[in-house]
């Protein structure tokens, strides 16, 4: 029993990171129907920027002080991820707004490869794994035979809080309303005086910021990052977004938890589970798209041809 609970918890923690990234996919897809393939790379860039800030911007004397390092590292990650996301939108995707559907997807793949390579080539030592500082205490505590790390608590709390904040933003603010309107019908939204370009940029910014946070969390939890982490994380997050129902904010986080838990349980209970651990996200993706393409909670995208 403790083993099962332990795996459920591990899965939830894993799923929280995936869910944070999935929010970016779901918002962008919800508004412009683009699979922003480079979103996983935005997450990776967040992790690397956080690391850079820790190593180069924070004075050594302050590095042990969580109250200083955590906000600064997060801030650096958010700034970098948001900037890159907005630049990608501005330079690569926007010019293709009215192109046939496959063109932006191919562009997104190009952006993804270029960003990965940019980090590999230009980040000092980027070709190898980089160790990431354990900013938060690595301590654990026990509840009924289940071991929980403080980083896990931090991860899940952050993900849930950010999801709620995002939902409040989308449902309560003027800009959020504009986002919903644009995702329903961009033409009409424009006619109603909504600056749809701005809305799209905001979607990319929010997605980028959340991915940046996820990047730092990933670094803190695994204490190592490399330029490859974006690819798998991106696929898993996209799967989560589709699973929850694309365009649906709660769905994205729910999908993240489901993927995380499936992966944790499969790794634990299936023979040679850890060799196969990355296959489950793909299997879930195929199964969901085949049998329930609208996702668990239903998508909130008007299907347009």
């Amino acid at each position: 029993m403790a083993r099962l609970v332990q795996q459920l918890i591990n899965g939830t923690v894993l799923g929280a990171t995936i869910g944070l990234i999935a929010l970016g996919y779901t918002m962008v897809y919800g508004i412009i129907q683009l699979i922003n393939f480079a979103h996983g790379e935005i997450f990776m860039i967040g992790a690397f920027s956080g690391l850079y800030a820790y190593n180069h911007l924070i004075p050594e004397a302050l590095r042990q002080n969580v109250a200083v390092t955590l906000p600064l590292v997060m801030l650096a990650a958010i700034v970098a991820s948001t900037t890159v996301a907005v630049l990608a939108e501005r330079l690569a995707y926007r010019p293709l707004r009215n192109a046939p559907r496959l063109a932006p997807l191919i562009t997104a793949i190009g952006v993804s490869i270029a960003l990965q390579e940019a980090i590999r080539l230009f980040y000092p030592g980027g070709k190898n794994r980089q160790s990431f500082p354990r900013i938060i205490s690595g301590d654990t505590f026990q509840i009924g035979g289940v071991t929980i790390a403080w980083t896990s608590v931090f991860t899940v709390v952050t993900a849930v809080v950010l999801m709620l904040a995002l939902e409040a933003f989308v449902n309560r603010t003027r800009l959020g309303k504009a986002m919903r309107a644009t995702s329903q019908d961009p033409e009409t939204a424009r006619l109603m005086g909504i600056d749809t370009d701005k809305v799209i940029v905001v979607a990319f910014m929010l997605g980028g910021a959340l991915a940046g946070v996820a990047g730092v969390i990933q670094g803190v939890r695994f204490t190592a990052i490399d330029f490859h982490i974006g690819f798998l994380a991106g696929i898993k997050a996209f799967t989560a977004a589709v699973l929850g129902g694309i365009g649906n904010i709660r769905g994205a986080v729910l999908g993240g938890f489901v993927i995380g838990i499936v992966e944790a349980l499969a790794t634990e209970y299936l023979p040679r589970g850890s060799d196969w651990k990355d296959v489950w996200a793909f299997v879930v993706l195929v199964v969901v798209l085949t049998f329930r393409p609208q996702g668990l909670l239903g998508e909130q995208v008007a299907v347009r041809s």
Binding site: A99, P100, S112
Partner: protein
Amino acid sequence: MSDSRAARVREALITGARRYVGPRRPPVALAGAVLAAAGSFTPWATFFFGYPGKMTLAGFPGGARTYVLVLVAPALACLTRLPGRRSASIAGAAGALAVSAGNLIAIANRGGGLGAVAYGAWLATAGGLLLVAAAVSCPPDTAPELAERRRPAPVEQAAVAVSLALVLAFVWYGLGVDEPTRFASFVATVAFAAGAVAGLGVTGWLEALYQRHRTVTLVASALAAVAFPFTQDGTAQWIRVFTYIGILAAAAIGLNVVVGLAGLLDLGYIAFFGVGAYVAALVSGAGVTTSHIVLPFGVAMVLGACVAAVFGVVIGAPTLRLRGDYLAIVTLAFGEIFRIVVNNWNSVTRGPNGLSRIPHLALGSFDFGEPHRVLGVMLPHFSNYYFLGLVLLAWVILVFTRLNDSRIGRAWVAIREDETAAAAMGVNTVRLKLLAFAIGAFLAGLAGTVNAHFGTQVSPEQYTFLDSVTLLAAVVLGGMGTVPGALIGSTALILIPEKLRAFQDPRLLLFGLALVLMMRFRPEGLWPSSRMKAELHHDEEPAP
């Protein structure tokens, strides 16, 4: 917003050039040409492997300076009355500027600062700037009517042969250019010169000629392809590279059926190639393997291709009703599942180690692993695979063109353009999409079986997502839905990195950027199908 700002800046620059340079176009252009020519005969670098003297035409950076001279010629088109002179001279002038400035930067970079740059490079760059100004000041083009004019058949056929010979000569020359900066300059020169030639309407004319004299074109290309190994003095390097290009091009054409004709984006296509390769390897009697079945290669080829096609149907059947971009992601997922399965299924695929020591093919007493002497020329053993690859490629091209011209091909295009309308017209969309998937998978599997023997080993890391993207990029770069496009695309994507060893490291970075730039500025590819071109530029005015 700032797109229109960029457009306004561009507009202002053109107006400015027209107003200030326009009336003085001939002297400006001539001055530019003289400067560029002077630059190409004077020293560019004050250093050369520690040699302090100033270099002349034969010295560093060698060819780059002659390339400038080559590009000055089309840049002067702005002084003539040729239709298309503006685009031609802009391409030439931009090329001259790019080559001079690029080399200037390379010299400064290598020599440790601008001090390394001698006056010749500055002269050429200044000349390039003047030429660009003159070219931009040209009045708008009239459409070249070269393509519509007809000449006597022998003349046209000779033009076909000469143009193909020229292409061959360029490739041959390019293979001999070893220094990376110089090779980059060469590629830039060819690209800009091609742009200039296209601007004058020559490319369109040649395309029409190739259409009219298909047999001559085909025979000439086939002859050139067959002759290639005989020109290599028995060295294997380029024969090996071109064999690989041939095999990959066959797979790329298979992908072109799926992406180019039916419009289904497949991001896991390399898996079918891998299925074919693994099947062939398993029944080949490889030295390091898990199976003891040995089948003749002909059977293995058909088997590999059929297994791949079955996979295509199995994957396609449940997923083809999805939206285009979802389908892309599902195929990506299948591609990754294939790789992970192959990586872990030790009892069959030997996991990450793969199957190796796959024996060379043997047709009767003809051993593909041995060099053979033909017509007094010693051909290295790779040429055997080269010819096999050619046969494969020719067959795949035949299949593709026949499909494209058939009822099925037209139905695919209808599906690609508008699935709902196609279904309403009575096209059985699901069955045809499935057929496209299966045929694409079959062709990839076929190419995979050949590749297993050619490469003598198969392992999971040969079939990653990046390989799928490379194939896709070959199709996109060349032009979706055309055979020459897939050929050009695969050649460029393999040959250029192979030549630019110095750029091996940033290869993928450039590759990613190239995808982005292609989609932005020339989504129809280098060799577009006329249909695709019309579709992608429907919002633009036709040329006046």
